[in-house]
Amino acid sequence: MPLLDVRHLSIAFGAGEQPVVDDFSLVLEEGEVVGIAGESGCGKTVSMLAIMGLIGWPGRITAGLMRFAGQDLSALSPRKRRSLLGRDLAMVFQEPKSSLNPCFTIGFQITETLAAHTGLGRRERRSRAVELLQQVGIPAPESRLRSFPHQLSSGMNQRVMIAIALACRPRLLIADEPTTALDVTVQAQILDLLLERQRETGMALLLVTHDLAVIAGTAARVLVMYAGKVVEEGPTREVFASPRHPYTQASLDALPERHAGHARLAALPGSVPGLDERPQGCSFHPRCRFAAGVCRRESPALLPAGHGLVRCHLPLAGDGTRGP
């Protein structure tokens, strides 16, 4: 039984609106590290919030099935669902500064979660908080417990966020662009920290990012999203070595790391279509080098290709050229 099993999830904001996320499926095994890549506005965060059950009004899950450790998430009562959050399912956000409550000390915020989900006493909660801060690499954790978020740097705050997320030893941690707001050296530290904690606790880690380089170094499997849909899924190594979807290929070509020696970076013309301007047929066809007639008429399905799945009428062959 997979830890997390999401099938054909669709989310729309407002009745009768175009879905923001369409046909999103994800199977995650215990202890697995999976990356989700995509541009801003492609529905990464919304689908993660849906898994957590935090889609706010007027957002609505219009179709699909979500199971966590065998439980149907949408059938749970709000109270049961809340008791999962923070205990079995945890999440870290992009903006560490605004993700911590400015009114309370970080010690209070860590122990709050422990108080909600564990039967630990005040002393034990405190020592567990110190232990957690130590684990996420915060020096002098005992005195830091009394600090307020504004007294710490962004990197420190992100470590605190991770400590809170890890407080109850979750089985799944969703890291939603955990390094985007941090500078490059701190980014590497935070990623290393997440992976180290993942290895040590054996939790599953879902790493959401728009930075393909982050995924390359961390995740075993990758999902690439475009305009609310998963366009390619497969083992990271294979997807990066021989992308099957033209969007994945174009995104990889735009990575500076792959362009040592070239004068100009390859760029993908155009931009992601807005929610009300998503085209008929394949949503990527206006920007696709290989678009054919069928791409303009029919929306492709997610089908096996190579080592994974790809949503393309005319998937690329393994060598980067167009298939037969």
Partner: protein
């Protein structure tokens, strides 16, 4: 100098859990004279109100038949027996003002406290719910705000009957809409922030979210509103008393004292001057304090 200041700042978290109102706020508050003066005067009045039974030279309702309308001590014909003179019924004005502080400040405090508790509760409900609850609460408050405040107070007293407690209820009715609007606006602004989502991700339920996560972040404007509301409450209570709709004689309430001696204004200036001054000084002090708090609690206005 700089080093000293930053060291102080670092020490601040140990003092209180709420970062919004801490050492820095006090530093900023202390730097201006008006608010500090206001705070001092309010402290003095509070002390007087609390110790009224010991401080007042006479009982508030004791009549001295040998001294009707005796002038204050320093005026012609005055004596140190009655420092601020006596009223038309021969009662010592100083004692009545001291006892009146208990009534005015006490009832004012209770009224503002009830108004803020009620207003914050309704504001949180409106801010967190959408649709019907929000619409019903806010439109009701709009109607209450559309009426001139004194008129609304008079309506409430007219319905409930004139008494000190009903006057307090009227003041609550006048003040609640302000608290509701302020709370709702602050809640709306805070609710969209990431830390609220983060708190939900840790499994916080709606009540915990409202009272433990969002409310502490909305306290600064509410404290200012409560302080300024206190001065309006004292003023409204006095106005209702003056109109005969609040405290009933012989209760030594400042507004009622004014009303009682209105007819002697031309013959004996002191009977209206001192209760009037008491109201003026109290209201002024609370306004000074409120303005100072607003500046100190809003980092953008800090110097």
């Amino acid at each position: 100098m700089l080093g000293v200041r930053s060291a102080r700042h670092r020490r601040s978290p140990g003092r209180s859990r709420a970062a919004g109102i801490g050492w820095g706020t006090w530093q900023s508050f202390r730097s201006s004279h008006g608010p500090v003066l206001g705070l001092a005067v309010i402290g003095m009045f509070t002390a007087i109100a609390l110790g009224a039974d010991w401080l007042a030279p006479y009982s508030a309702s004791e009549q001295f038949r040998d001294a009707f309308l005796a002038p204050p001590a320093w005026a012609e014909g005055g004596s140190t027996r009655f420092l601020l003179g006596t009223d038309p019924l021969g009662r010592d004005i100083l004692s009545r003002i001291i006892q009146g502080a208990q009534v005015s400040l006490g009832i004012g405090f209770v009224a503002v406290l009830s108004a803020s508790v009620l207003g914050v509760a309704l504001g949180l409900a409106a801010g967190f719910s959408r649709g019907l609850v929000d619409a019903v609460v806010m439109r009701t408050m709009d109607v209450m705000l559309a009426l001139p405040s004194l008129l609304l107070a008079i309506v409430v007293v007219a319905v409930l009957g004139p008494s000190l407690i009903n006057a307090a209820a009227a003041v609550v009715a006048v003040q609640v809409p302000h608290f509701v609007r302020l709370t709702r606006a602050a809640v709306r602004a805070e609710r969209a922030k990431d830390y609220v989502t983060a708190s939900r991700l840790c499994g916080a339920g709606p009540l915990r979210l409202a009272f433990c996560t969002v409310l502490p972040n909305c306290t600064a404007p509410l404290i200012v509103q409560a302080t300024l509301g206190f001065s309006t409450a004292v003023l409204d209570l006095a106005a209702l008393g003056f109109l005969g709709l609040g405290a009933q004689p012989p209760t030594p309430e400042w507004g009622t004292m004014l009303a009682d001696s209105r007819g002697f204004l031309l013959r004996a200036w002191w009977v209206v001057t001192f209760p009037g001054l008491a109201i003026l000084i109290t209201v002024l002090s609370f306004n000074l304090l409120g303005d100072g708090l607003r500046d100190a609690l809003d980092p953008r206005l800090r110097r």
